[in-house]
């Protein structure tokens, strides 16, 4: 399996996700510079976290216009799996590959803490190593993770099984206290209609090592390796 991590100016989780991918794949992913439109043929494209272009416009808005993204969009439309984490999720909504938008956190503050997720869709390339309804712990670290879409879009996401993860409490209940950013229906991650694009605010790559407080993120990478090898 080959993977590419797109490096935008201002990406800052590129190394972290590359480390987690290397652990899972047994080899290093390609680090693809944003200015090169000629993306190598790979089985997986990852848009990492960070502050692409400083996020001085809407988060992810400028990255969505960068040369490499035209190619990423084309590959996604032809079925290549694309994973967007945090800023990567924001870029995916800005390109229109995923519906909705990520607004400023309801608290109006950046939030960095561990959250509990509930796996809502375990039948995907990204999540098959999670049991349905299981409760992995991961870290969120963002200022703009408040997922918003109109009611019809949210209903459609739910009905078509495209809500991948939800923020929940230790008992698995989606309460306001367990929702770190005010996301609609506690949504932490969603899939596109074809199921090959996943955007999520939590960072699985920061929970892929027992020394760092947990390994619940590893199943996401191992799912991909199994699906794409």
């Amino acid at each position: 399996m080959n993977a590419a991590v797109i490096v935008f100016p201002g990406s800052n989780c590129d190394r972290d996700v590359a480390t987690a991918l290397e652990q899972a794949m047994g080899k290093k992913p390609i680090m693809a510079w944003h200015g090169n439109a000629d993306l190598p043929q790979v089985d997986l494209v990852v848009l990492p976290g960070g502050f692409s272009y400083g996020d001085y416009l809407r988060c992810g808005a400028m990255a969505a216009q960068s040369p490499v993204m035209r190619e990423v969009v084309a590959r996604a439309k032809s079925g290549t799996p694309v994973l967007g984490i945090c800023n990567g999720f924001q870029v995916l909504t800005e390109t229109g590959l995923l519906p909705g938008a990520l607004m400023r956190n309801a608290s109006l503050k950046f939030v960095c803490r561990d959250v509990t997720l509930r796996v809502e869709a375990a039948n995907t390339k990204f999540t098959s190593h999670y049991a349905p309804g299981s409760l992995p712990r991961m870290t969120v670290a963002h200022g703009d993770g408040n997922y918003f879409a109109d009611a019809a879009t949210l209903d459609e996401l739910e009905q078509s099984g495209r809500v991948a993860f939800r923020y929940v409490d230790d008992a698995g209940q989606a309460t306001p206290e367990a929702n770190p950013n005010g996301s609609a229906r506690s949504i932490a991650g969603i899939l596109n209609a074809a199921g090959n694009v996943l955007g999520m605010m939590p960072h699985p790559e920061r929970h892929a090592d027992p020394l760092l407080g947990g390994t619940d993120g590893k199943a996401l990478f191992s799912s991909l390796v199994q699906a794409l090898s």
């Binding site: 100016p9 800052n12 972290d16 976290g49 400083g54 200022g143 407080g213």
Partner: protein, 733 residues
């Protein structure tokens, strides 16, 4: 003020912060009257901030060498050998004055500046720490300051992607008009690839990289060298504006270029911008520099030489490149979308020559700006010793549990999660111990080794007795590193004091240095970098003297560390002597409303003996959890250990001890450790052999904290009380 032809009147000299004597010295050094640009350059180079003119004679007393020290004070940051071919590069700095005037940008650019100091030396920054001192919570500006400073630190550190892993936050009315915003960065570099600032190679190109130069921050260094008054708000235009995105690009571009072999010397443009960077590089290299100001990338049109030389626009660097390799550098910086301009060359004249629009607009001898800068032996008077305060003269509380809840919910001890949850503390995926413990632990990327990092100072102790307080700050930092199992390596300091022209304030500075110096020597803990921030006064009222200590320690095996959280079924043992010292304690201040009495004495030999013993116990795996005993004393330490995991504890007060002195006294050199019950007798035997006092306290179990004969409280209630204050304070209508 920036008309280059304006006459140099006594008023203009005074407005530049130079005394008449200093101006005479400047005339002597130059042999003629300076023009306005030259006067501006003298003014910033001779400012307290850049010249350390009041502090230099005393700073020399600090020990700065050791077997692991690769580079001590004087460069952009200190460098320490951590083995396996790597070095830790670190420094702490203040951004106090700007943060009071404009808290978000002041704090943000403080973080940006200290990050640059570290990556200028070739290191990738891996951690940020931020010790903060605010005024009384009831001061009308304070919530605005807390909110702005925290958002500014987060705004910069989160964007650049370096984890902010800890710090301190305390409140005292002495900081009402001068909050302290200190920032420390730790980076990792190859030990044989450290970059320095000494310019060399006559004819080599002087290269400017990074952001363009604007009119922001002109005279920031001078502002940081004067007292505040009610008109200080008018100084807002002197605060710089940070751009963490550009700094991220600058960081990556510099590290990319540094991986090759093109750079002779590099220096960041911090305080006093292009002036101090060019003068420092020339001075260190014993050479001259000729700068063509027409080539300086400018953000605005019509900037004068004066403005370009004094601008403190952020995210800029000055480099000397090897001859013929300019295009290698240009290619890297253009890839990252940053300005790259050759603005001059190295000369053998020993002079800084500035050309602008076809004319020489400045021509100054470099050594006059640095070596000939004024150095003062300011008059000082020692802080009078306070009368002893025997514990039996200090009233007991109505209830021990009531006093405990008062302490753990007071502003200084209440949970600071509201702050550190706004900082990305896990980016880079190497944060092993997060904020809230004795030390943060950051893994050395790709290895099983780590760095422990802490910042410490107890200003009320320093205020009561600067020498004891200075020693205590160092000792507590050493203890916090030890408490996670790290070997303490070295120190950076940030000396925050009032007006040095007052003998009482200068006496605080001198006493602190003496105490720090003694502690650093006794603990083999050299000072490798630092910063001095004086004139922290408003309307004549000085802050409590605050020599903030930042320190790092080395962990050779991340499997051999502990945290402070309790597990059930362990025995609790107190390491170190308890005399029940209550002078200048938090108990006295928060429970009894008094701030009198001397601080606890610091016995450096006991500190070292007890710490070495504890570290060995952690590494051997005997000690399962450990916490240093500091603010609030023993009972607060045990409560912290219980709250960290939710496991309760039961402890007893030995007969013959005054309960409130035993439980709330702040005697130094102490740790609470948790061991398997069967390991206790052996631990006691080893302690006796090592001359380390140990005392059985009780055990961990259940979900309550029980002080036998004095009451009980549930851990969940303790946590609720501990976590309530700061969010409630910030949410006040």
């Amino acid at each position: 003020m920036s008309d280059p032809n304006s006459a140099i009147t006594p008023e203009v000299v005074a407005a530049h912060g130079l005394t008449p004597e200093e101006y005479t010295r400047c005339l002597d050094a130059l042999g003629r009257t300076p023009n306005l640009t030259e006067l501006g350059i003298f003014s910033v180079m001779w400012s307290e901030h850049c010249s350390y003119k009041s502090s230099r004679v005393w700073l020399k007393q600090l020990p700065t060498t050791g077997p692991r020290v690769i580079c001590g004070p004087g460069e952009n940051a200190g460098v320490v050998d951590i083995g396996e071919g790597l070095a830790a590069v670190f420094k702490m700095e203040s951004h106090n004055h700007p943060s009071y005037i404009e808290p978000y940008q002041g704090a943000a650019t403080g973080v940006g500046g200290i990050l640059r100091d570290v990556f200028t030396m070739g290191a990738r920054p891996v951690a940020i720490m931020d010790p903060l001192r605010f005024g009384s919570p009831d001061h009308p500006k304070m919530r605005h300051l807390v909110s702005g400073v925290v958002a500014g630190i987060g705004g910069y550190g989160n964007c650049i992607g370096v984890p902010t892993v800890g710090g301190e936050c305390s409140f005292h009315a002495s900081y009402d008009g001068n909050i302290l915003v200190n920032a420390m960065t730790v980076g990792l570099a190859r030990a044989d690839k450290i970059f320095y600032s000494a310019a060399a190679g006559i004819g080599n190109s002087v290269v400017y990289v990074g952001s363009k130069t604007g009119r922001d921050g002109i005279h920031g260094a001078t502002m940081a060298s004067a007292e505040f008054d009610d008109a200080s708000e008018e100084k807002r235009p002197t605060v710089q504006v940070g751009d963490p995105f550009t700094e991220k690009l600058l960081l990556e571009a510099c590290l990319e270029l540094m991986a090759g072999d093109t750079i002779v010397a590099i220096q960041d443009m911090g305080a006093a911008g292009l002036t101090s960077s060019s003068v420092e590089m020339a001075s260190k290299g014993g050479v001259g520099l000729e700068l063509d100001l027409d080539s300086v990338p400018c953000r605005e049109t019509g900037m004068t030489a004066y403005e370009m030389m004094l601008s403190e626009s952020q995210e800029r660097m000055l480099m000397i490149l090897k001859p013929g390799l300019e295009d290698v550098g240009r290619k890297v910086f253009e890839k990252w979308g940053l300005d790259f301009a050759i603005i001059g060359k190295v000369t053998d004249t020993g002079r800084l020559v500035l050309r602008h629009k076809g004319a020489v607009v400045g021509d100054l001898p470099v050594d006059a700006l640095t070596d000939a800068a004024p150095m003062y032996e300011r008059p000082w008077e020692a802080t009078p010793k306070r009368a002893p305060l025997p514990a039996q003269d200090v009233p007991a509380p109505d209830s021990i549990i009531g006093a405990l809840t008062t302490l753990i919910s007071c502003p200084d001890l209440s949970s600071k999660a509201w702050i550190w949850q706004q900082y990305d503390h896990t980016v880079m995926a190497d944060t092993v111990a997060r904020p809230g413990g004795d030390s943060a632990i950051v893994r050395i990327h790709g290895s099983n080794r780590g760095l422990a990092i802490t910042t410490d100072c107890t200003p009320r102790y320093v205020h009561a007795d600067p020498e004891a307080g200075g020693a205590q700050a160092v000792a507590e930092a050493w203890r916090n590193l030890t408490a996670v199992g790290a070997l303490p390596l070295a120190v950076t300091d940030c000396m925050n004091f009032g007006n040095p022209q007052k003998p009482s304030v200068m006496g605080q500075f001198v006493g602190s240095i003496q105490g720090m110096s003694a502690a650093c020597r006794a603990l083999d803990f050299p000072v490798v970098s630092g910063n001095v921030s004086l004139y922290n006064e408003t309307n004549g009222q000085a802050i409590q003297p605050t020599p903030a200590i930042g320190a790092i320690g080395l962990i050779d095996d991340l499997g051999q560390t502990v945290r402070h959280g309790l597990a059930p079924g362990l025995s609790l043992v107190l390491v170190g002597d308890t005399l029940g010292h209550l002078g200048s304690t938090l108990y006295l201040r928060e429970v009894l409303g008094r701030e009198d009495g001397p601080p606890p004495p610091v016995d450096l030999a006991a500190e070292r003996r007890n710490g070495d013993f504890v570290r060995a116990g952690i590494r051997a795996g005997t000690i399962k959890a450990c916490h240093d005993v500091s603010d609030g004393g023993l009972l607060v330490a045990v409560a912290d250990m219980a709250m960290a995991t939710g496991t309760g504890a039961q402890l007893s007060v030995p007969s013959g001890q005054l309960p409130h002195a035993f439980l709330f006294g702040e005697d130094q050199a102490r740790y609470v450790v948790a061991l398997a019950p069967e390991a206790v007798p052996g631990f006691e035997t080893e302690a006796r052999a090592a001359g380390v006092p140990v005392l059985r306290l009780g055990q961990s179990s259940g979900d309550q904290l029980i002080v036998e004969g004095h009451g009980t409280i549930s851990i969940s209630e303790l946590k609720t009380r501990n976590e309530a204050w700061l969010p409630a304070y910030m949410a006040r209508p």
